[in-house]
């Protein structure tokens, strides 16, 4: 079946994962991008606080938080619809922490986490979860590494015990490592080298971030993967894997009161570590135009991409708004309004009205420890690169920035954002993911709950005038890279 083309699907930040092979019933779950919400109410004993969110009286979302003496943070999202639970353990280590020359080390360690402990030999972890009827996997991103299992709630002691075990007792066998390194090299080929879109994006991203570690691919450069030593992995594990550098999330048929004794039992005895401070790297202001064009014989349809450095919830460039979560939510809404697929204003203007493009979209994800990237992607309606299309997109965006966006358009998008919160609650996995993505960054997770508690208020407070200012900021930003992905034979723009 030929599907309609969508907006450069492969050019979002990929979750680097170790999926199960091609079995169609065990695909990776997708994650909705938008956040969760609750309103805090009640205080409980032993330093544990329950946040109770009343979306409507009948549909309350409860977020319970706790912490062990050794620093392990706990978040429980009770949902008693079915007797199952999703467990996630998030570690505060990702590509952002990796030194030059060791790109991809966090991801390689994610693979090694399945290679056994003295009690649970290599292969046994997955086998044990499978025999208990559970699904499990892991993912590595720029900021974190996370492991998850979904299983019948009766099996929670098993998954807690297995995760606690590999948090402290991972063994590093040279032979296992050498085979797994080959697996990762093959993974890199599958994800990147076999895919011209991904090669192009990797290069463009590297050109955007020349100093910040976000310029390195999550999976790592091939040259780095080939040069890791077993000691590199052992050290990475010792430095970053410990209870006080982790967040445990349980979503499903369980409460904190029920889970806490089990969590104490398995995780309570693990000694805390001294994790290195997470690097904060400033990207120098760009003074020279950067163009990254890539031609490949496998490409048949030209594409244009422009990456622009944008504020995240935690980091922004001089001249941009101060990085905070409300600013980043505004940019998420703006990206949705302008470039959210076929509903976006750009699609309507460039694809439907002017017929210059086959697709036009904008991507932005603000939940990042470092900077965020604002991406404009265009596919011309034709077989050659079209500077006319890029000019039209720029002129259109500039014209939009001259006045506040139409109120009806903004209100419609806000309504959708609010609804997305209810839809996100429909899956334990999604809920745990959106909560974890925000909360794992804090030594005390309660610090981050504001972003969940007051989420809908922040959305409702956004006005067309705010969005106009934000769009002006993005258009004025000089830290950008742009380029074309082209068929090899028409690299010079000539028609084949």
């Amino acid at each position: 079946m030929v599907k309609r083309r969508t907006l450069l699907n492969s050019i979002v930040y990929p979750l680097t994962t170790t999926p199960h092979p091609t079995s169609p019933t065990r695909g990776e779950e997708k994650v909705w991008p938008h956040a969760v919400r609750s309103v805090c109410i009640e205080k409980l004993l032993w330093g544990m606080i329950i946040w109770l969110c009343l979306l409507t009286p009948a549909h309350a979302l409860t977020i319970e938080t706790g912490r062990l003496d050794n620093g392990l943070q706990i978040v429980v999202l009770p949902n008693h619809r079915a007797p199952i639970v999703t467990q996630m353990v998030w570690y505060r280590v990702g590509a952002i922490d990796e030194p030059s020359g060791k790109s991809g080390l966090s991801h390689m360690l994610e693979h090694m986490m399945f290679k056994g402990t003295p009690d649970v030999p290599a292969g046994k972890f997955s086998e044990t979860i499978a025999r208990a009827g559970g699904n499990e996997n892991a993912f590595t991103t720029v900021d974190f590494t996370a492991y998850f299992q979904t299983i019948a709630v009766e099996q929670l002691p098993l998954t807690l015990r297995l995760e606690a075990d590999r948090m402290q007792n991972l063994q590093f066998d040279a032979q296992e490592f050498s085979a797994e390194r080959q697996v990762v090299i093959e993974e890199r080929k599958s994800r990147t080298d076999n895919n011209p879109d991904a090669i192009w994006f990797e290069e463009m991203n590297a050109a955007l971030y020349r100093n910040h570690p976000y310029g390195r691919p999550i999976i790592g450069w091939r040259e780095d993967i080939e040069n890791y030593t077993l000691a590199d992995l052992q050290n990475w594990y010792r430095q970053h894997y410990g209870p006080n550098n982790a967040l445990l999330i349980l979503a499903g048929d369980i409460t904190l009161a029920q889970a806490r004794p089990m969590i104490e039992k398995y995780f309570g005895t693990i000694a805390p570590i001294t994790a290195p401070p997470r690097p904060i790297t400033a990207e120098p202001m760009q003074r020279v135009q950067r163009i990254v064009d890539y031609s490949d014989a496998r490409v048949r349809q030209p594409q244009f991409l422009r990456l622009t450095m944008a504020p995240s919830r935690y980091q922004s460039l001089p001249g941009q708004v101060t990085a905070d979560w409300q600013a980043s939510l505004r940019l998420e809404l703006l990206a949705q309004i302008l470039g959210g697929g076929r509903d976006g204003l750009l699609y309507k203007e460039l694809v439907e009205r002017r017929k210059l493009a086959l697709s036009a979209g904008i991507g932005y994800d603000g939940v990042k420890s470092g900077y965020s990237t604002w991406s404009l992607s265009l596919v011309p309606n034709g077989k050659t690169k079209s500077e006319k299309l890029v000019v039209a997109a720029d002129e259109y965006l500039t014209s939009l920035a001259k006045a506040p966006l139409p109120k009806t358009v903004v209100e419609r998008a806000k309504k959708q954002f609010i609804a997305s919160f209810i839809f996100a609650q429909d899956s334990n996995f999604h809920l745990a993911y959106v909560a974890g993505e925000i909360l794992h960054r804090y030594d005390d997770v309660r610090t981050g709950l504001d972003q969940i508690d007051n989420w809908d208020e922040a959305i409702n407070a956004i006005t067309p005038a705010h969005l106009q200012t934000d769009l002006q900021m993005i258009l004025a930003e000089k830290n950008t890279v742009q380029g074309w992905l082209l068929p090899a034979a028409i690299a010079d723009g000539a028609i084949r």
């Binding site: 599907k3 009948a58 085979a179 697996v183 093959e186 429909d426 899956s427």
Partner: protein
């Protein structure tokens, strides 16, 4: 590991307490049937429905007609153009989408319960009165052609098409849309496909979420009541391949990693061998990290990032299929291992492996009910496969009844490396017997 065994044991007892969600059969005032799982935990309603036919009704030289039609249903209907229709859905915070495969044209609707009646009105409008505005047809055709062109650079897509074309030959499952067929499809073709598929007898509807049977009934009429009764006979027949000897087909492509798609005859969903074969396949290549193919080819030797196999029980044919991507210089080794494992498999299945596979397949069943749209989708597939409304209650008993002997018998009956058809895209591969492919001359070959 003793502790784990003890926990497992306790849990298996606890498992008996799990109750499958209750399935209600709802009829509209005019007699349209839907299967419903009512759940008011969240104010969400999801519909999933299909109409039999899909690409099965595509004219032979116009592959892609059903897919094109599915795309056009969101491109304007009634008095709304594409943009207005999309805005109306946005105002309701509703998701409505359509798609088609070789057997079905399917639709999916997700909405907040309070907006459900208005969203269903839009669903009806999309189905009953699509506009096929020439401008929209032109735009969608250009998008589909661009997607087709882009897919020519993807070795996995090419390998899948090669495999299908060789195995299924002239059957609809062997055809793929291409530049020529997509260019040839007209609005009249799409209207004809609608004429054939929009029949009450071809509808399979699953609904889940915050809606009662009495609310749902009238909505079914609102959505689908305009369709005439009966059904259009399918032009598609069951398919069994004539050739049963092992064949590899090879297309060279300048890529760093070679991709192979492999497969052989399997069973359809209603075959009595379905469950024994499901267990067998789980052990061989369906069980993720615990499967034999992954253990031998990925975990022990690091030859690939992913290898697996799965049962593909389709409406008119069943196959066992799989794929692997691996480095050029070790491809021959990978293939040899695959064939060896495939050959040895039926005679080496242990009772412990059968137990282990069953433990996963039984225990993980409730994990499938992971969201409201997923529930609706399960209800729709149960109807497509004629599994009966009590299937969710019976399913684990059907699986429990499968013993070691049945799994071995099914494996011996079906798994046979002499029947493996392997399509390879990437490095030139030489081993015999083999055929050089010449079926798709437009594909990138260097």
């Amino acid at each position: 590991m003793k502790k784990i065994a003890a926990i497992l044991f306790c849990w298996l007892w606890a498992w008996a307490a799990w109750a499958a969600p209750a399935v209600q059969i709802v009829h509209s005032p005019s007699g349209i049937e839907a299967w419903l799982i009512e759940d008011h935990t969240l104010p969400i309603v999801a519909w999933q429905f299909s109409m039999t036919g899909g690409a099965g009704f595509d004219p032979a030289d116009k592959s892609g007609t059903a897919g094109f039609l599915a795309a056009m249903l969101s491109e304007g209907s009634g008095s709304d153009d594409a943009a207005t229709f999309a805005e109306k859905l946005q105002d309701l915070a509703a998701d409505l989408s359509f798609g088609a495969d070789d057997d079905y044209l399917r639709g999916s609707l997700r909405c907040l319960a309070e907006n459900c009646p208005a969203a269903v009105a839009l669903l009806r409008q999309a189905l009953a009165a699509p506009s096929f505005a020439p401008e929209a047809v032109k735009r969608v055709r250009a998008q589909m052609l661009a997607a087709y062109q882009e897919s020519r650079g993807d070795p996995a897509t090419i390998a899948g098409e090669l495999w299908n074309a060789k195995y299924f030959s002239a059957h609809v499952y062997g055809r793929s849309a291409d530049q020529k067929s997509l260019s040839a499809i007209t609005t009249a073709d799409m209207r004809q496909a609608m004429e054939k598929m929009w029949r009450r007898g071809q509808l399979r509807i699953g609904v889940a979420g915050a809606i009662s049977p009495s609310e749902l009934g009238p909505m079914l009429d609102q959505a689908f009541g305009f369709m005439p009764p009966g059904q259009t006979p399918s032009p598609v027949a069951d398919y069994t391949p004539a050739q049963t000897r092992m064949v590899t087909i090879n297309q060279t492509m300048d890529v760093p990693q070679t991709v192979a798609v492999f497969g052989q005859p399997g069973v359809k969903r209603n075959d009595p061998d379905f469950y024994p074969l499901t267990v067998a396949n789980h052990i061989l290549g369906g069980g993720g990290f615990s499967s034999r193919l992954t253990t031998e080819i990925r975990e022990k030797r690091g030859l690939t990032y992913g290898i697996g196999s799965y049962l593909s029980p389709r409406r008119y044919a069943g196959t066992i299929q799989g794929s692997v991507a691996t480095r050029q210089d070790r491809f021959a080794q990978t293939l040899q291992l695959l064939q060896q494992i495939w050959r040895d498999f039926p005679n080496t299945i242990t009772p412990a492996e059968v137990d282990q596979a069953k433990e996963y397949l039984l225990g993980s069943f409730p994990l499938r009910f992971s969201s409201t749209p997923r529930l609706a989708e399960i209800l729709m597939s149960m109807q497509e496969d004629n599994l009966g409304a009590d299937f969710l209650e019976r399913r684990n008993d059907l699986l429990r009844a499968v013993d070691h002997a049945a799994v071995v018998a099914a494996a011996k009956k079906y798994f046979n490396p002499e029947h493996l058809l392997i399509a390879i895209v990437g490095a030139e591969f030489s081993s015999s017997p083999k055929e050089q492919n010449d079926a798709i001359p437009t594909s990138p070959t260097r």
